[in-house]
């Protein structure tokens, strides 16, 4: 195994010079990004250092309940980001979406841990947390896009949806195309990633493993698993979440709420 170069904290800090240069560009071109760049950089430092410490503790304890609590915390945070990005605020979908995310990620994560990677025990944090994190990060975007497009589509096509409802169609029948469009728009980045991986991009996880000195053929197997998990978890969680959001968009008497 090759020796891993440990980057000094000074050199990590030195990387901020690139962000400072970006900030100067923003000032010069009046892009207005300086504040976000500053806050974003500080948050990256704080959040990742904090994560580093938490991971150290979680890895050392290796307790299933702590693993699940950390996992749940990550999902709550993702669900908050989703509800921040979705403009429609009249429908209270936060909690149902959170539950649908938790259930679909648990199904997939446990399947991968116990059957595919065969980690013993299944909750072993050095596998469960990073893979779970990738699943959450990826599908969070898909769910946000899907829910946003769902509400936009519903508002844009209100006349058609109401016409269908007026003819006795169920909410699902009235919004078949909207539902399909919302799910596929969220899925496109994951599917594009499947198409371009290894040609256009060398994915982060594989890069990390290679940098850590692991045989590229092992890294590739992990990466293939990850790519497939990401597509499946994205699809499962966004379909699950959008089903709930759809049923919340109508009253029990098939009246449109938005």
């Amino acid at each position: 195994m090759t020796e891993i170069i440990n980057i000094s904290w000074f050199n990590v800090a030195l990387t901020t010079s690139l962000v400072i240069a970006t900030g100067l560009c923003s000032l010069y071109l009046k892009l207005g990004l300086e504040k976000d760049l500053l806050v974003g950089t500080i948050r990256t430092f704080l959040q990742l250092v904090l994560l580093g410490y938490i991971l150290k503790i979680v890895f050392a304890l290796s307790n299933p309940w702590i693993v699940l609590i950390v996992f749940l915390f990550m999902i709550i945070f993702a669900a908050r980001i989703i509800s921040g990005r979705v403009k429609e605020k009249r429908i209270r979908y936060f909690f149902p979406v959170l539950v649908s995310m938790f259930l679909s990620y648990m199904i997939i994560n446990i399947f991968v841990m116990s059957i595919i990677v065969q980690v013993d025990p299944w909750y072993k944090p050095i596998y469960f947390i990073p893979i779970g994190g990738m699943i959450i990060g990826n599908s969070m975007n898909a769910i946000a896009i899907a829910i946003n497009n769902w509400f936009n589509g519903l508002k844009k096509e209100r006349e058609r949806v109401e016409l269908f409802l007026a003819m006795g169609a169920s909410p699902a029948e009235s919004t078949r195309d909207n539902f399909k469009g919302a799910i596929t728009s969220g899925m496109i980045p994951s599917i594009n990633a499947l198409m371009s991986v290894g040609i256009v991009s060398i994915p982060g996880m594989m890069t990390g493993q290679i940098l850590a000195g692991i045989d590229p053929m092992i890294a590739i197997k992990y990466q293939i698993i990850i790519m497939l998990i990401l597509v499946a978890s994205t699809a499962l969680s966004s379909i699950f979440a959008l089903h709930i959001v759809r049923s919340m968009s109508f009253t029990t008497n098939h009246q449109l709420k938005v």
Partner: protein
């Protein structure tokens, strides 16, 4: 005495938390009758029609259809029987035939089949002399409104709720649609409740005229 087909009893309605739009409405409708509800825009005509197909729900009072309160019907069965047509007819992408056939794919209409011959007869009746594969998006508003009416006739709804069906039409189209509705009523084919902001008169039938103002419904002549 024959019971009323539709009975509106002491009905009030307000949008959630808002001021009342309609108050103490009473109306009795016999089968195959034409009811004309006039009123200024914003008087609550659409709100009234939408109470009948339950796009809106009454705040007080009750509405009975065929001896059963409308809230006791399954919502899709109610809307199958009482069909609301919006003011601006909506056309789905595709041909005239696509626009006539699509509701037959809905679960609630599964017991019926699209009848192309019957569609042809209704196209003739509403004077739409176009092939059924004609692009529906190229139709004028008047033609679209007639497509919407043909679709309603093919679905064999018992009651039509027409929300200002002629407001966006030129006088020739308006006259045509009014005549065709008049003939349908005369032939005892359907019950129609029509909202309008302008006065309509008919030569062969005697509809009941009502006016909505100050949230109340009054019989007029």
């Amino acid at each position: 005495m024959k019971s009323n087909f539709i009975q509106i009893e002491n009905v009030s309605f307000s949008y959630q938390g808002g001021t009342p739009v309609l108050e103490g409405l009473n109306l009795e409708i016999k089968k195959n009758q034409l009811i004309i509800v006039s009123g200024e825009s914003g008087a609550g005509k659409s709100s009234l029609l939408k109470l009948l197909n339950r796009f809106n729900d009454v705040t007080n009072g009750r509405i009975v259809f065929n001896n059963k309160e409308i809230s006791e019907y399954r919502i899709d069965e109610l809307r199958k029987a009482i069909l609301y047509l919006p003011q601006i007819p909506y056309t789905v992408e595709g041909t005239i035939e696509d626009n006539l056939t699509f509701p037959f794919s809905f679960h609630v209409h599964k017991d019926k089949k699209y009848d192309a011959d019957k569609a042809g007869e209704w196209l003739d009746y509403f004077q739409l002399n176009l092939p059924v594969n004609h692009d529906a998006l190229k139709l004028s508003v008047g033609q679209r409104q007639r497509i919407a009416l043909i679709r309603a006739m093919l679905l064999k709804s018992e009651v039509l709720l027409l929300d200002e069906p002629c407001s966006a039409l030129d006088s020739a189209n308006r006259k045509l649609i009014e005549q065709k509705i008049e003939s349908l009523i005369e032939a005892r084919e359907i019950t129609v409740i029509m909202a309008t902001h302008s006065k309509i008169s008919f030569s062969n039938i005697c509809p009941q005229y009502f006016k909505l103002s100050d949230r109340r419904l009054m019989l007029t002549t």
